[in-house]
Every structure is written in structure tokens, then in C-alpha cells.
């Protein structure tokens, strides 16, 4: 075995894991509060990527600077989706909850196709080629930034939920919808905000990914699947768990390529997922069951 390669893969796994974590945090929050799986998650992230792409192309603003705008726009998108669709389906049987969100993903994906065409767009950003040599290995600067911000955002979101007034209400609504209603919390509005927040982290993730990969309308789907895996690993509704789950998945997948064809690395993640569900269904770090 090649040690230098293993080291490089480990570094990349960790950095990729941070990004996985960030894409999953929003999904985890939305599940934790509403108990629904946002099947449109990846597509929302792609919308975030497009927004920062167009800001970059039209206004010349780097994705790191336009990140708040992307997050804000996707917050609104999430808020609207929750208030128009998701709030109405919360009491439906689970099988019925799946369809509207799958359909929402389909709509977002094809709206992107309609508006911006099928091209893979990959603009050069200030840092898209920056890398720091580290002995025989290299550390990708855009990934490092994405990783650091992923941790920062997750911690910030975690603290927001713990400390702020709205955060407390969100947790109350997550804990017991009826109870929250009884003590006068406008649960529908709180849900809107929670979905918006989950969406916003996803939009931010999109902005952070723009320097790393070309955006195209069909990119979203696989991110949704990966985010599932991460969320289950970390425990549904557990935000810090999602981050750690992302790291585990990133490192596992990356190191698996040492011995397996890369096309099989997803099999590792799904295998891991099944095993975790069977032996520890609450996720590695506990979550809503």
C-alpha cells in the first residue's frame, strides 16, 4: 500500500466529509422538526449553486461573498415550499408525504433546465485552482474553506437552536407539535422558518461547492441520496451528528478507493448505512426515532 496516497486520500476524505456534512445538516434539521424527508434537497442545493453562479457572472462577485445571498434566496424558497406544500401534508400517511417532495425536486430540476439550459457551467473563481502543498500531499483551498465554513455553520445553527427564542420554539415544535400549539406557538410559522433554515444551509453549501464542481440541472439527485446516508449515520435530527456522519462517510469512501474501484465506493456507503440501521437505528450519535 502506498502511504503517500493513503495520506492524500485521508485528507481529501476529511475535506469532502465536511461538505457532505454541510449538505446533510439541512436535511437533518428538516427531518428533526417536521419528520419529513426533503427529497428536493439536492435540487435546492443546485439552485444555490446557480444563484452564486449568476451573481459571479453578472456582477463579478465571488461565491464566498455572495454566499449570504444564495443562502437567503434558498431560505425564501424553503419558506415558500413549507408554507404552500409541506405544512399541508404533515398529517398525511408517510407514503403520501414522499410524493410532493419528490415532485418538488422534479420541478426545481427542470425549471433550472428551462431557465439556464443543460450546460455544465464551471466558472473560474479566485480560488478555484488554489492548493497548498503539504509534503507529498496537497490540500485544496476551496475544499478547506468549505470544510471550515461547514463546521462554523453547523455550530452556529446548533447554538441558534439552543439559545435563541426562535430556536427554542423550533425545538418545542419539533418535540411536540400539539403541545407547542397549546402554549401559543404558531407552529406553521415556526415550521416555515425551520424549513427555510434547513434550506438556507443547503443554499450556502451550493455556493461553497461552486468553485469545486460544474453546476448543471441534474446534479442534485445524488446529493440527496448522499445526504440521506449521512443523516442516518449521524442520527435523524441530530445536527452535529450529521457533521460527524459526513466525515465518516467522506473518509470511508475516500479510503475505499485504495482497494476498490471508485464506482463501488457508494456501495460501501450504502452497506455501512444498512448495518448502522440494523444495529443502531438511532444513528451513531442518537436522534429522533
Amino acid at each position: 500500500m502506498n502511504l503517500a496516497l493513503a495520506l492524500q486520500l485521508l485528507i481529501q476524505g476529511i475535506l469532502l466529509g465536511g461538505i457532505y456534512g454541510l449538505t446533510a445538516v439541512g436535511l437533518s434539521l428538516i427531518f428533526g422538526v417536521m419528520g419529513v424527508i426533503n427529497f428536493a434537497h439536492g435540487q435546492m442545493m443546485v439552485m444555490g449553486m446557480y444563484i452564486s453562479y449568476w451573481i459571479l457572472v453578472l456582477l463579478g462577485l465571488d461565491p464566498y461573498l455572495s454566499l449570504p445571498l444564495a443562502a437567503g434566496a434558498i431560505f425564501i424558497l424553503g419558506y415558500v415550499i413549507q408554507s404552500t406544500v409541506v405544512n399541508r401534508i404533515l398529517d398525511f400517511p408517510e407514503a403520501m408525504q414522499v410524493l410532493p417532495l419528490v415532485a418538488m425536486g422534479l420541478i426545481l430540476e427542470n425549471l433550472a433546465l428551462l431557465f439556464w439550459g443543460p450546460d455544465h457551467r464551471s466558472p473560474s473563481t479566485a480560488l478555484s485552482l488554489a492548493a497548498i502543498p503539504l509534503g507529498s500531499a496537497t490540500v485544496d483551498v476551496s475544499r478547506l474553506i468549505a470544510f471550515a465554513l461547514a463546521i462554523a455553520f453547523t455550530v452556529a445553527l446548533f447554538l441558534f437552536l439552543k439559545k435563541s427564542a426562535i430556536g427554542t420554539r423550533i425545538r418545542a415544535a419539533a418535540d411536540n407539535r400539539l403541545g407547542a400549539q397549546l402554549v401559543g406557538i404558531k407552529v406553521d410559522r415556526i415550521n416555515n422558518i425551520a424549513f427555510g433554515l434547513g434550506a438556507a444551509t443547503t443554499g450556502a453549501a451550493g455556493a461553497l461547492l461552486l468553485p469545486l464542481m460544474p453546476v448543471s440541472p441534474h446534479l442534485g439527485h445524488d446529493f440527496t441520496t448522499t445526504a440521506f446516508v449521512v443523516v442516518i449515520l449521524g442520527g435523524m435530527g441530530n445536527l452535529l451528528g450529521a457533521l460527524v456522519g459526513g466525515l465518516i462517510l467522506g473518509v470511508t469512501e475516500s479510503l475505499a478507493t485504495l482497494v476498490l474501484p471508485a464506482t463501488l465506493k457508494q456501495m460501501i456507503s450504502f452497506g455501512l448505512l444498512v448495518v448502522i440501521m440494523l444495529i443502531r437505528p438511532q444513528g451513531l450519535f442518537g436522534g429522533r426515532r
Binding site: V85, L99, N110, L113, T225, Q266, M267, V274, M277
Partner: protein, 321 residues
């Protein structure tokens, strides 16, 4: 009730006579209507009747398609027999998945994720098996003949798929009225309460997934010999899994007529909108509309279209509730 059966019989008669007047393209649309209605019906057994949500049913379609095609190419076995072999393997896989899910108490979202994971694992595994073409998939030879399950025109496919739909629905209808079917419904409604009444929920959940997997896989053989190309992504992918649940959900979950009505609404709609927006510049529009419609149906007809049709026909058919 008798009038309902009379009406259904009449409709069936019309469907039997349709090939006399329809062109090949229209027949092709009907083939897809029947195909998806049958798939929806098969999925309905596990999810609509027993309440375990599967989002990985492509797994069984893929097994049915690959097994019968592999046996036909390798040993010249007729797909009619290969279909049964595929069915058996699919049943075994379904039971294995069911064992993991039901024994370890994975319910709701967790069961959903289990089904997705298993389908994805199968997709990736098949992508690496050279004997079945790995990523490239399998290209079927075209040798028309009943033995080969291959035909020149669309008429035989029409009748075969119609047969699938009618027999599949009949089977589910009989199942739903049987002891087993009723116990499945009890599990769907409230598994704990069913347990308290002596219902062995594990056994009946396993029965449901076994029947569902078997039925689903038969459609795979049909697909293989209708489209002539199998690839891991199209046969085991999440896209197919989602496609096949849309119709029963829109038509009415846990009802025999739901998947059929859903398919009669949704399949032509997707064809017509695709055809309409085929001209350049509006690529993707039909899928947007498709998505909007799906959301509207779920929001405003939460029990599916069937309920509304029943309500409208009630005076005519003297239906009970």
C-alpha cells in the same frame, strides 16, 4: 356492487377491442398504461395494503429483467420460464430485505431508506458483473416468436400487458378479500393493535413483500422484451422506483382500482405533455407540469382520484361505502 362489476366488465371488453381501431403509437401508450398500472398494483400490496413504504421496488423489476434475459441468452430458456425464475429470485431477495427490516423493527422512514439502499447496492453490484454486461447493460437480440416473448407489432404486447394488469389486479382483489389480505390491512392501520389481536405481523409483512416482489419482477421480464435494452441505471435506479409509485398514490393507495386509474391519468398525461413540448426551447417543461400536477393531486385529493370517481358514480352504481 354488481353494477360496478358490470361496468368494469364493459370497460374490459372495450380494452379488448381497442387494438382494432388504434395505431401502434396509441397502443404503445396503452402498453405503458397497463405496465405501470401492474407495477403500481404490485407495489400496492406491500405499501398500499400492508403499509411498509418501499422506494426501492426497481430492485425487483431489475431482477426480473436481468434473470430472464440472462437465462435466455445463456441457455436459450424461454423468458416465459425465465420470468418465473426471476420471480423466485426476486421473492428470495424481497424476503431477505423484509427479514432485515421487520426483524429489526425498521419502520417508516427507516424502512424507506433500507429499500433505497438495497436497490442501490444491487444497482452498483450489477454494474460490476461482467456476465450481465456491467455498466454497458444487456442488449437483447430481436428474434420474434411467442417462445422468445418477442413480437413485431404492438398488439401482442398490448394483450400481454393488459393480461398482466387484469390478472394482477384480480389477484390483488382476491388477496384483499382474503384472510391474509385483511390481516395485512390491519398491520397497515395499526401494527401494535394488530399484534394485540394475535396477528403475526412479521409473518404477514413477509408474505406481503414476497408477493409484491414476485409480482413486480414479472414486469421486469416484460420490460426487457419490450424495450430490448437493460442497463443497471435504468432497471435498478431510483428513477424507476419513483416512477412506479406515482400512479397508485395518485389513483388511490391500498385500493385495487387506484393504480389503474392513476396510470390511466398519469401515463397519457406524461406522453401528451412530452409530445406537446417536444419542440425546441421548452425542454423540461413537461416534467415541471408533471411535478405540479402530482403536488396538486396529493394536496387536494389526498385519498386519490378513485374516491372522487366513486363519489361521482355512486348514484349510478348504487355503491355501498
Amino acid at each position: 356492487m354488481r353494477r360496478l362489476y358490470l361496468l368494469l366488465g364493459l370497460l374490459l371488453l372495450v380494452l379488448l377491442l381497442l387494438p382494432l381501431v388504434l395505431d401502434k403509437y396509441a397502443l404503445g401508450i396503452f402498453v405503458m398504461i397497463f405496465f405501470y398500472a401492474y407495477l403500481g398494483q404490485s407495489w400496492n400490496v406491500l405499501t398500499g395494503y400492508t403499509g411498509h413504504i418501499s422506494l426501492g421496488h426497481a430492485l425487483y423489476v431489475g431482477i426480473g429483467a436481468y434473470v430472464s434475459t440472462f437465462l435466455a441468452q445463456k441457455f436459450g430458456l424461454s423468458p416465459w420460464l425465465g420470468m418465473l425464475a426471476g420471480g423466485l429470485l426476486a421473492t428470495a431477495v424481497g424476503l431477505g430485505l423484509g427479514f432485515l427490516g421487520f426483524r429489526f423493527g425498521l419502520r417508516g422512514v427507516y424502512f424507506v431508506i433500507l429499500t433505497i439502499s438495497c436497490a442501490e447496492i444491487a444497482r452498483l453490484a450489477v454494474s460490476h458483473i461482467d456476465a450481465v454486461g456491467s455498466f454497458s447493460g444487456i442488449f437483447l437480440d430481436f428474434n420474434p416468436g411467442f417462445y422468445n416473448f418477442q413480437f413485431r407489432g404492438n398488439v401482442p404486447y398490448y394483450y400481454i400487458s393488459l393480461g398482466f394488469m387484469v390478472l394482477g389486479s384480480l389477484a390483488v382483489h382476491l388477496l384483499a378479500r382474503s384472510r391474509t389480505g385483511r390481516l395485512m390491512v390491519a398491520i397497515r392501520e395499526d401494527e401494535q393493535a394488530a399484534l394485540a389481536l394475535g396477528v403475526n405481523s412479521f409473518k404477514y409483512s413477509m408474505t406481503a413483500i414476497g408477493i409484491s416482489a414476485f409480482m413486480t419482477s414479472l414486469a421486469g421480464t416484460f420490460y426487457a422484451n419490450y424495450v430490448y435494452y437493460l442497463s443497471p441505471n435504468s432497471m435498478f435506479g431510483m428513477g424507476l422506483s419513483i416512477d412506479l409509485i406515482l400512479r397508485p398514490i395518485i389513483g388511490g393507495l391500498g385500493t385495487v382500482l387506484g393504480p389503474i386509474i392513476g396510470s390511466f391519468v398519469l401515463t397519457p398525461l406524461s406522453e401528451v405533455s412530452r409530445a406537446y413540448f417536444a419542440k425546441g426551447g421548452l425542454e423540461g417543461m413537461h416534467l415541471v407540469l408533471y411535478g405540479v400536477l402530482a403536488i396538486l393531486v396529493v394536496l387536494f385529493m389526498r385519498q386519490g382520484i378513485l374516491v372522487y370517481i366513486k363519489r361521482a358514480l355512486k348514484p349510478l352504481l348504487k355503491l355501498e361505502d
